[in-house]
Amino acid sequence: MKRAPSLSGPALRIGAMLLALLFTTGILLIAGAPPLEAYRQIVIGSLGSVKKITDVLVAWAPLVLATSGLLLTFAAGLWNIGIEGQITLGAIFATGALRLTLESGLPPAVAIGAAILAGILGGGFWALLAGLLKAYGGVNEIFGGLGLNFVAVALNVWLIFGPWGRPGVASMSGTEPFPDSLSLPALAGLRLSPWAVLLAVAGFALVFFLLQGTYFGLRLKAVGKNPRAALLLGIPTTRYVLLAFVLCGGLAGAAGAVQVTAVYHRLIPAISSGYGYLGLMVAMLVNYQPTWMPVVAFFFAALNIGSIQLPIVLKLDSSLAGVLQGALVLFVLAVEGFRQRLRRPEARVTE
């Protein structure tokens, strides 16, 4: 929704961030942990060295892909909670493709390309299911997506412990790792693959372009803001909703494929790394607009990577990152709410 730009906007956002920091500090104190030390560890753990920064980028790429997709579904007015499952299915399809090409002797570039494509297909397919449930089953996409998330998790676990299990002892550590040749090539000595970054940038650019410069994007937004009027004006709303799902699922599937080919090099139970839900929060924080999304995504990825230090150094659970991320979104929403309330011409107190 178009809001009048206000001078106090950025200032309020910074205020919200400070409040979130305050809140998280409080939580740290409750847990009996040294707050400043914890923050220092997070900063060191994410930005302390070139290697660390590239590690953040490793997390950034799939996050950006997933969030880009979500910007499309949010434009269409949808809460695509099923994004987690879509990432997972992308990873599963990518793994399947790699397994197939393992014996075939195809050149690695083709194999990896096929894996990424398979991932896109897998994610898109899974998202299509959620869309069909909504369009033809009348099931709200929140619950349809949740149900499919559960199924995706179960499918993943079954594959890892069952047919795709490691020979010998199938375990939580995932499937047999793929040979190095079947991974997205990384920079020397680092875990980061520039191809992953490229993919993320491409995904983001695609979504930015679609939303800002095409009729498709405009119609999608119309469907999101007023589906009834959009229908009467002649837009095939069901088709657009399904398209939004499929495109988002494709991008999510690409994220899953990246997780398999560039990050973990195998399929593990938590292959999505929570990037789906995290992406939803990033999208909320940028008010569903693409412009600042990659920056915020980097920030969130840095928090995730940085907090890995916490269990090691301070014996704290790394979920602190989630607390801070949640607090950020929450306080921004709160500040936004207060700002709107103060602007209302009649501040009524009748209750």
């Binding site: 095409t214 009729y215 937004k221 119309a222 007023n226 009027a229 009467l232």
Partner: protein, 492 residues
């Protein structure tokens, strides 16, 4: 109860909705308040009933100042307001709506409420089934229920906001009789309306508002022209029908039956031809809206034949209908017609027939400016549609449906609009008609129906009259049919 409004001021931003209004209503009077849309009537009544607070001014009841902050306060003071869309709970039963909100113990006192309801209903000649769900009632019945509820609460001042929109002639007679009885009892009635005839019939005195100010008062015998002049500041003529030669049939319905959630509509047979204007008249909720939507392909009838230019299209999709040149303009402008959050340029781009893939902003801007000029829309290409006034929103809707249509279907095209917009929009519609488009419209404004239609169909409780020639139909005939009189005996 004697009601005095002293120098009431209320502004919404730059709009001065009530500008120093002072009015005194003696007890036992039926006071009419006349004014067109936007004159400030509803705001004034909302202030009196506690829904809004005045910026400045006082309200005195029975010679004492009253401090009103909320509807609770006014309820305690004995002021009750009957809204145009009665504030009831459709999902609950009549009896529960009746007793909702009353003080009491842990269990609802249904037995007591039932007997009070029945007694009051009998006294006023209303027939209300306590066990019926409110969503199944007509607007008139819901008003009756609300009226009885306010009386049970001991309301000594009753404010009625546009009570005769959407009720039958019979119900109106019953309502007026009850109001007269109540005023004889010493209760004060404030009757807000834009319908001259009703106000002239019923009210002991009339106050006229225009643009937020009280411009004059009158007592019987009323001079209609003078009242109109006070309301509009000028004498207004509505324009006339096109009376063109009907051409080929554009749409034909044969024995169409539609099953709505509440009723069965039809069987109805009607047709519309090029250059013709067909008016669908009737109380709201009598089925005309569903029929109009069937003509657009939005609802599928369960029986009958539907032909567009001779081709059978029953069951086809809305898109198929659109492709054949059928356009539909809904009554709820912001809920169904336009997209709040998008501006004018975006709306026009959305309906671009030869849209490519990329948006070319220069061209889009140019196209929008052209349309704004053609339809005299008071706004800029960057204006969000929710910021436009009702009249301009309606012009936008008209601009969006496009040219070269075979059939234009309109739901309440001029509802809530000022008289200038009404006339201007109908001029545009007649232009289309001249060009060959057939027009079918639904309206609850008898004047509009009679003025602009060539032929009329009346709807009552799902039944549809055969085609009536607008030139030879009188207001009384129309009113009677709309109210349910003059229909052949029902076959069960």
């Amino acid at each position: 109860m004697r009601v005095e409004l002293r120098q009431i001021h209320k502004s919404f931003g730059a709009v001065h909705a009530n500008d120093g209004i002072s009015l005194t209503v003696p007890a036992g009077t039926i006071q009419g308040i006349l004014g067109e849309n936007g004159a400030g009537k509803t705001t004034l009544m909302k202030i009196l009933s506690g829904f809004q607070r005045a910026d400045r001014g006082e309200i005195w009841l029975d010679g004492r100042p009253a401090h009103i902050r909320s509807p609770q306060d006014t309820g305690a003071l004995g002021i009750g307001m009957l809204h145009q869309d009665p504030l009831d709970v459709p999902a609950m039963r009549v009896l529960d709506n009746f007793l909702l909100g009353r003080e009491g113990g842990w269990r609802p006192q249904r037995k007591q409420a039932r007997s009070v309801l029945q007694e009051l209903a009998e006294r006023f000649g209303f027939a209300l089934d306590p066990e019926a769900y409110v969503e199944a009632l007509t607007v008139g019945e819901r008003q009756q229920l609300e009226l009885l509820r306010l009386l049970w609460l001991g309301a000594r001042v009753l404010i009625l906001d546009e009570p005769t929109t959407g009720i039958s002639a019979l119900q109106k007679d019953a309502l007026f009789a009850s109001l007269r009885k109540l005023s004889e009892d010493g209760r004060t009635i404030i009757f807000v309306s834009h319908k001259l005839e009703d106000v002239e019939n019923l009210c002991h005195r009339v106050a006229v508002l225009r643009r937020g100010q009280l411009v004059g008062e009158a007592s019987p015998p009323y001079d209609t022209d003078r009242l109109v002049e006070m309301m509009f500041g000028r004498v207004v003529s509505l324009g006339s029908r096109l009376a063109g030669q009907a051409g080929k049939h554009v749409i034909g319905l044969e024995d169409i039956v539609i099953e709505d959630r509440r009723m069965t509509i039809g069987p109805v047979s009607l047709h519309a031809a090029q250059h013709e204007v067909i008016g669908l008249a009737g109380m709201e909720g009598s089925g005309q809206q569903s029929l109009l939507r069937s003509c657009a392909g939005l609802i599928r009838p369960v029986h009958g034949r539907l032909r567009l230019a001779g081709e059978d299209v029953l069951g086809r999709s809305y898109r198929d209908f659109r492709r054949r040149g059928v356009a539909f303009m809904p009554a709820a402008r912001l809920e169904e017609g336009l997209i709040p959050g998008l501006d004018l340029t975006e709306h026009f781009e959305l309906t671009q027939p030869q849209a490519g893939f990329l948006i070319r902003r220069q061209e889009a801007h140019h196209r929008t400016v052209t349309q704004i000029d053609a339809f005299k829309i008071r706004g800029t290409p960057a204006s969000p549609v929710e910021a436009l006034s009702g009249g301009n929103q309606q012009r936008t809707l008209l601009a969006l449906v496009g040219e070269d249509l075979s059939l234009l279907l309109l739901e309440h095209p001029t509802r809530g609009l000022d008289i200038e917009s009404v006339v201007w929009i109908w001029e545009k519609l007649k232009e289309r008609c001249r060009g060959g488009t057939a027009i079918v419209f639904v309206s609850s404004d008898l004047d509009e129906i009679l003025h602009y239609s060539d032929r009329i169909h009346v709807f009552f409780g799902g039944r549809v009259s055969p085609s009536l020639d607008a030139r030879t139909t009188t207001v009384e005939q129309l009113g009677q049919l709309i109210g349910g009189k003059g229909w052949p005996e029902t076959r069960v």
